[in-house]
Amino acid sequence: MGSMVVKILGTGCANCVRLEQNAREALTRGAISAEVVKVTDVPEIMEYGILRTPGLVVNEKVLVSGRVPDTDEVLRLFMNELAAQA
């Protein structure tokens, strides 16, 4: 299984914090080992081309932007990503 890098894009608003919590919880629940990186630098965020924060990026791919998916959905997205890798 390949390694997974999860990035949370956002300048620190309440939604970004919620998204990070959901992402960490999903990783725990799915027993997935991944590195979680918070990206708060605006030019760096813009490299992903999103127009709304927060953004959820897995292995450099933008999966969600502008909303906070709940833990179930985040877990589903992570699982899809892992399946695609395998």
């Binding site: 813009m46 490299e47 081309g49 999103i50 127009l51 709304r52 969600v64 932007s65 502008g66």
Partner: protein, 316 residues
């Protein structure tokens, strides 16, 4: 059905005598609260369903390269239907400017988005009737068009922070391809979120309408801020600029002001100044534009809103 619930609460649960003033006021309060909350739920749900079809990426595509007047009109209208919160103002601003949306058109979008909103629409409709609700929407769009157009007219692109033009904006996510089930879930979540946030303001607004009616001295505000005082509109706007609340939060204040005889134009101007010009948003925007442009923006908005206030005081 709503009358039945209001009857139940007023006469059965609290055993109030239907002939008393208190019973009438409470009946009105329960009925109106239920009515407005129900309207809010339905309209927020409908609006968020519509919004799921207008992600900001779409607004960006539609607006890039449009310098003419049409661009401003389109931007002001898209500002209403595009889901957007001021915490995303920076990425949105950079994304728009980078993809060739003119600065003034970007501002038209940024102005109309917080000012013209569904909660304000429902509250104004429920409390003052559909005419005032429509009037507010129409003038909000007008202010956004004129404000953005003026910023474009003065060619202020050099007042955008230089780094903005150097940023390489990525391709972004592919469209998620939402199903109707996704849209429904998004709309439901959003409706719940907003209702949770605004219900205290709604209740406060209706309580002010129902209970305080007739208690505070009627002529106090009218004497100082009525039609006879030509400075009332600019004063209302000046007071409104540093105040910050979302549109729903201003409704109780607006309700109280109108109840006490403040003319409609002065009231709308106050409400617009509170919602469209907020210190937190200025601080966020300061990251992408220079202080001078923020000053110009506030100035243009203040003048435009004051003009709208005078217009409505004169017409209605």
């Amino acid at each position: 059905m709503l009358t039945w619930i209001a009857d139940l609460v007023t006469y059965r649960l609290l055993h109030l005598n239907p002939d008393t003033h208190l019973a009438a006021a409470l009946h009105f309060f329960v009925y109106d609260t239920l009515k407005v909350l129900l309207m809010l739920a339905v309209i927020i749900y409908a609006v968020s369903l519509i919004r799921s079809f207008f992600p900001p990426e779409r607004a960006k595509r539609l607006l890039s390269g449009r310098r003419q007047f049409l661009g401003h009109v389109l931007a002001a209208l898209l500002g209403i239907v595009t889901p957007f919160c001021s915490c995303s103002a920076v990425p949105l601003f950079i994304g728009f400017v980078e993809s060739g949306v003119p600065l003034g058109v970007t501002f038209s979008f940024l102005i109309s988005s917080p000012m013209v909103n569904e909660v304000a629409l429902v509250m104004l409709w429920g409390l003052f009737g559909w005419r005032i609700a429509l009037l507010y929407i129409a003038t909000g769009v007008l202010v956004a068009i004129v404000g953005g157009w003026l910023i474009g007219y003065f060619k202020l692109e050099h007042l955008v922070e230089e780094y903005v033009y150097k940023i390489k904006v990525g391709a972004g996510a592919a469209d998620e391809g939402q199903t109707w089930a996704d849209r429904h879930r998004y709309a439901l979540d959003y409706t719940r979120d907003i209702l949770k946030k605004v219900w205290p303001y709604v209740v406060a607004g209706i309580a002010i309408g129902g209970f305080i009616h007739g208690y505070a001295p009627e002529d106090f505000l009218v004497r100082y801020a009525g039609r006879s005082n030509p400075l009332a509109v600019p004063l209302a706007v000046l007071i409104g600029i540093p105040l910050y609340a979302n549109a729903a939060g201003t409704i109780p204040i607006v309700q109280a002001l109108m109840e006490k005889g403040l003319p409609i134009g002065t009231t709308l101007a106050f409400m617009m100044a509170v919602t469209a010009l907020s210190l937190p948003e200025m601080i966020i925007l300061r990251r992408v534009i220079k202080l001078k442009l923020i000053g110009i923006f506030v100035g243009i908005m203040a003048v435009t809103i004051i003009a709208v206030g005078y217009l409505f005081n004169a017409v209605i």
